[in-house]
Amino acid sequence: MNDLLGSLFALLVFPGLAFLSTCALAFDWLDRRVIARMQGRVGPPWFQPLADLIKLLAKEDILPTGANETVAAVLPMVSLASVLTAALYVPVGGRVAASFEGDLIVVLFLLSIPALAYFLAGWVTVGVYSVLGGNRSLLQYFSYEVPFLMALSTPAILNSSWSIAEISARQLTWGLFTLPLGFILALVGLIGKLKRDPLDIPKAKSEVVAGALTEFSGRKLALWHLAMSMQTVVGIFLLVNLFLGGSKAIFLAVPPPLAPVIFGLKALTILVLLSTFSVLYARLRIDQLARLGWRVLAPLALVQILVTVWMGG
């Protein structure tokens, strides 16, 4: 009975739905605010993401004729569920809901489900922009995913464990310093995965309107947005655990109550880094991204893996 309650708590409250959606909205707001300030604007008030979500939930839900309504309704839920499940294995502030040797692989697998769901979403809602956006998202997936996976495997090799909690705990010096290249590659890969500027190719407004989600509206779109924001949060938490030493401070020992604060600060740093990237560059073309992914990122990731193995994992 206690087990069941514990699992329910983990799924619904911490680090599950309630915690993750709060974080998602907060990160969303902070991201928009930081970008706005970098561009000389004011940015939205703190409740804007919540207001957007509620507005979308209240809106009429329509799909074009010919769209597969069941699949279109299931897809956002599938991506939301997979992100939520992935969140269970990612330690937050030194606490983790579930952990086993090899959960890194599971999390990476779970985090790729939304990308595939996004592609399918483009196909089941029949629209030229949707299909084009879906195709682009798949192409982008093939470009960033390999270097991303390779980059994320380097801390695992270095710390000889495939459990996120273990890697986070075993890091004496942060992965950022031992694997600087891996960190940068993981960051770029994360940008591609989250479809953020400058790699927002599948949803480029001036090219394909809203990409695969063009035909979505109302509750389904709200779920999509929530899933995407949560994916941002989980991705950032993952990077904090793998490359920034989780909730550990750099030189001094941290008293356990302060651990979540340290963790939060690190997560915010990565968020600001992501915001900076999206302000700094123009959107790439899909062929340019493919070239970047296979000619630059993948070889660099390979180099990083070889160096890691040589360093003696």
Binding site: Q39, G40, L132, E207, R285
Partner: protein
Amino acid sequence: MTRVTIPIGPQHPLLKEPLSFLLTVEGEEVMESVLRLGYVHRGIERLCQERTYVQNIPLIERVCGICSHVHTTTYCQGVEALSGLEVPPRGLYLRALMCEMERIHSHLLWLGVLSKNMGFDTIFMYAWRDREIVLDIMEELSGGRVSHAVNVVGGVRIDLDEEHARSILTRFDVLEQQVERALELIEYEPTLMARTQGVGILSPEQVRRYCVVGPVARASGVDIDLRRDLPRPPYDRLEFKVITHPAGDVWARTLVRVRETRESLHLCRQIIAQLPDGPTSVTAKRRVPEGEVVSRSEAPRGEVIYYIRSDDSDKPARLKIRTPTMTALITLPDQLRGATMADVPVVLSGVDLCIACADR
């Protein structure tokens, strides 16, 4: 691969004004494109025949929402030539000052639109922030941000005093700094260059065949600029370079336009320094003697032509406007052939779309 037809417009996030493109794409490659115009045709040319020469000025100002001043300038030039009016030099200088500031504002606006369309929101925000400097100056001078209502037949309505001129010059210094930064960005920013270089190429031959004018022509190495080729006062006394670039792609157009912005700033400074004393306008008669005239001037987008025929009444008998955007628009199907879907926004904004101008 199967061919898909993708509509761009009349409603599309890329377009701020209605225009329709039917793109036939194979995967990401554009095979064919069909252009349709006329969504914002307002019948201005016909309407002008129904209204007096005085009433036409605010109407003509609304041909274009960006280069409004140069349209009324060209129109007034024509009417003045028909009625044999001599505009006092101070009036001509102030007209030219507004023209050059309008060029700055138009080019910065264009830089913003291009950046926005290739997903570079930051440059968009910065360009429009810097454009605000010149918009503020124009608002203080004329009372309007984009519809200036400065021209009257026979001169200008506005005047510039010493103190105001000094404050304008200090703000120009800030603007110049920002334009220099933008230039550096265009010459070095890797993603911007990757997106614009080799995209939407127009050869000098194509430019001549389609009669393309303005910065698009100059970016293809065709050295035309009415300010130099048909020097009217005060341009005959001002020093400026005509910017050209041989590349012919969108990147060259960016470079040409931003360098022109810098030239325009220099021109504005010279105009303020040389501003002659005297009246700003002469009184014009309401009736214009019979005759016909072709009036041309260099708008931010290129050469704008007005043809006016008068019949000794207070209304024009015929008025024809040729806007520079029209010439650039018809090259778009050529530029788009073989481009990818991602290039479409860049190519479309590269020619500086002003659909209201083209449709009139």
